[in-house]
Amino acid sequence: MIEVHLYGKLRRFAGSRRATSASIAFVACRPGDTVGDVAGKLGIPLEDLGSNIFLNGVYASLESPVQNTDRLGLFPDDMQLLYKWYFDPKRSDGPEK
């Protein structure tokens, strides 16, 4: 299972929506699945996702491959607070493959 930590308006896709605690959803994935697939399984509209996506604490994209032991952190589009030089999450796999 992948442990998906959700923030802001994405918390509604997890069991707990309380802002003062972790909002975590668990998702089973298959070989070859990507971050985008995980978001899809949770029903998160891709346009609600910002560029702040962290896979095991490393900046990632929708196309980054995932495994069942991963921790994924997803922030909505109104919470992206890292500078530009972010890459388009829909197309790039980011700087660290």
């Binding site: 923030y7 802001g8 900046y59 109104d78 992206q80 700087p95």
Partner: protein, 579 residues
């Protein structure tokens, strides 16, 4: 007409001087660093009579340009021993600008404490001894009342920490609601002000004229482009990330990245992060006040409006503003996950006139040294009261993290050039480590906000520091020094680095005010000129490239969760400024 107000505290004399030709077009950080570079002996004692304190509003401060009410304060820092520029958002600098005062230079040293009042007619003094030894929330309302109210004046003051010349003392300015909460916080400039015998400066701009604009058409075009960029960008627009959650939105983000320094930089992830984050502040306020509170502007004309408030269980206001840096320094860095305790610590820093980052750092080092357990917010509050009472222990903490580490035998002291690191772990975000290392200010995230994702190089697969990255770090510092010169808040960078017309707007605003024909190339040229002045001052103060290093423990202690050390070669650090 642009002029400089020179104040000699020794004999309490004041004189206006025309703006020297060589300082033409200079304002904000460019002007404070120029004056410190040219007039202050680099080897002087920061608290001695030969240091100076310089205030300067930015180029467009006082105009209708949005988010531009910053005041720069410069001096030689008692914390780092190097040059310092710290700036704050407040209406205070706007009033100076409207009076045509490009800089106030404070020199000499008085006995006792004094209040300086600046008006259209000049400067006057009165004794301020009766205002000393008090919390700033007791001082500001009474002084406002006596001075004609917040509509007429803004106030700059030091607190008890500055009166006692503590190196963690900041300089306080009031916000738009007359709260004593906005700080030129870093580097101990409050101690420099205290060493001069200057307790407070009241600026009354009654009868002043608008700030002259040389070319109104150019200025208005630039202003509109700037405003459009700020209202369009997801981070800076109304109800965007900063307006909704404040800078503390970063707590969860940086924690998720494994780069939130926790328990004195022992870990990059804090299990209590969600409890002290911007979301928790927003939700907590909603529960306690019964309404959704969006953030407010700290200073006139700001359209980002990122300043928050935190409310008590009964709905009354507890403190403003719980910034990302403060929530982290007084929270995660001390292992404290109770927002009410973090808010109380934040309030006390405002009351006593302290830099929240340095005090959070000193508390964490004190916890490391056994004065309190990590997470013991109650004890942390007692320790900050020690500072307010100026007890020997309080003065040790008020001297900052390095001094506290020396006294209590702690080797894990996260600083550069004597200044405690802010809320980004350099082992996990190598780019900010570069900024910390080479900044003329000591460890300072605002010198060059290199938190770019391409620098979140924690896996070792990407070398974040090829020569191109050294260039990026350098260019960031140049651009930042220019923004600190315009009077704009650094947060405009989120928008203008994404939206080209916003960047052009910033340059056009300056051209409109000054009648210059600057281009983007001039931004880099001026930024370099500022950094060169500051580097030269620090060189003459005795700094070498060996001071551009992160603390040793970061080289041998792997940081969870990424388990990385600081592994950037010294030679690569030295490429940034080619020393």
């Amino acid at each position: 007409m642009d002029r400089i107000l020179r104040i000699n505290m020794t004999d309490r004399s004041a004189s206006f001087e025309p703006m020297p030709k060589q300082y033409e077009n200079r304002a904000g950080r460019w002007l404070t660093s120029s004056i410190i570079h040219d007039e202050v002996p680099a080897t002087c004692h920061p608290l001695g009579p030969n240091n100076k304190l310089v205030f300067s509003p930015g180029i467009v401060t006082g105009t209708s340009s949005p988010t531009s009410s910053r005041i720069s304060v410069g001096g030689k820092s008692p914390l780092t021993g190097g040059i310092k520029e710290a700036n704050a958002g407040t209406g205070w600098g706007r009033r100076l600008a409207r009076l045509g005062i490009r800089a106030v230079i404070i020199e000499g040293r008085a006995d006792g404490f004094w209040l300086l009042k600046i008006t259209k007619n000049g400067a006057s003094f009165e004794t301020a001894d009766a205002w000393t030894g008090k919390k700033l929330s007791e001082v500001y309302p009474k002084l406002f009342e006596r001075s004609g109210g917040h509509k007429a004046v803004d106030i700059c003051s030091i607190g008890i920490a500055g009166e006692h010349r503590m190196p963690a003392a900041g300089i306080c300015f009031n916000d738009q609601n007359a709260r004593p909460t906005r700080y030129a916080g870093r580097g101990g400039l409050g101690a420099v002000m205290g060493s001069k015998g200057l307790k407070m400066i009241v600026v009354d701009d009654t009868g002043s004229d608008d700030v002259p604009v040389a070319n109104k058409e150019v200025f208005n075009g630039g202003r509109k482009n700037m405003a459009a960029a700020l209202t369009e960008h997801a981070i800076t627009k109304p109800k965007g990330a900063l307006n909704s959650y404040g800078t503390a939105v970063l707590v969860n983000i940086i924690n998720e990245a494994g780069a939130l320094p926790t328990r004195n930089f022992r870990s990059g992830r804090f299990e209590g992060a969600a409890k002290i984050a911007g979301e928790a502040i927003f939700e907590g306020n909603k529960e306690r006040t019964g309404s959704e509170l969006y953030n407010h502007a700290c200073s006139p004309g700001c359209i980002i409006a990122c300043s928050n408030t935190w409310h008590r269980p009964d709905g009354s206001e507890h403190t403003s503003c719980v910034e990302y840096e403060s929530a982290w320094a007084l929270g995660a860095n001390c292992g404290i996950d109770n927002l009410d305790q973090v808010a109380e610590l934040n309030l006390l820093c405002n009351e006593y006139g302290l830099d929240t980052i340095e005090i959070g750092g000193a508390l964490a080092v004190a916890m490391e040294g056994g004065l309190a357990a990590f997470g013991d917010g109650k004890r942390a509050i007692e320790l900050v009261h020690e500072i307010g009472r100026a007890t020997p222990l309080g003065k040790i903490l008020g001297a900052g993290a390095v001094a506290t580490g020396k006294v209590f035998g702690v080797s894990r002291v996260p600083h550069v050039k004597g200044q405690n690191m802010p809320a980004y772990e350099p082992r996990a975000i190598k780019g900010i480590g570069m900024t910390y290392a080479v900044s003329t200010m000591g460890a300072d995230h605002t010198s060059g906000y290199t938190i770019a994702p391409e620098m979140l190089g924690v896996s070792g697969k990407l070398d974040p520091l090829n020569p191109d990255k050294a260039e990026l770090a350098r260019n960031f510092q140049y651009a930042t020094a220019f923004i600190d010169t315009t009077g704009h808040c650094l947060f405009i960078a989120f928008a203008i680095l994404d939206i080209a017309s916003g960047f052009e707007g910033m340059v056009e605003e300056c051209n409109g005010v000054l009648g210059t024909k600057w281009t983007a190339e001039d931004v880099a040229r001026i930024g370099k000129e500022i950094l060169d002045l500051e580097l030269d001052f620090n060189h003459r103060a005795g700094f070498t490239k060996l001071d551009d290093r992160l603390p040793e423990f970061m080289l041998y202690e792997p940081l969870p969760p990424h388990n990385v050390v600081w592994d950037i070669a010294d030679s690569e650090i030295d490429q940034v400024f080619g020393q």
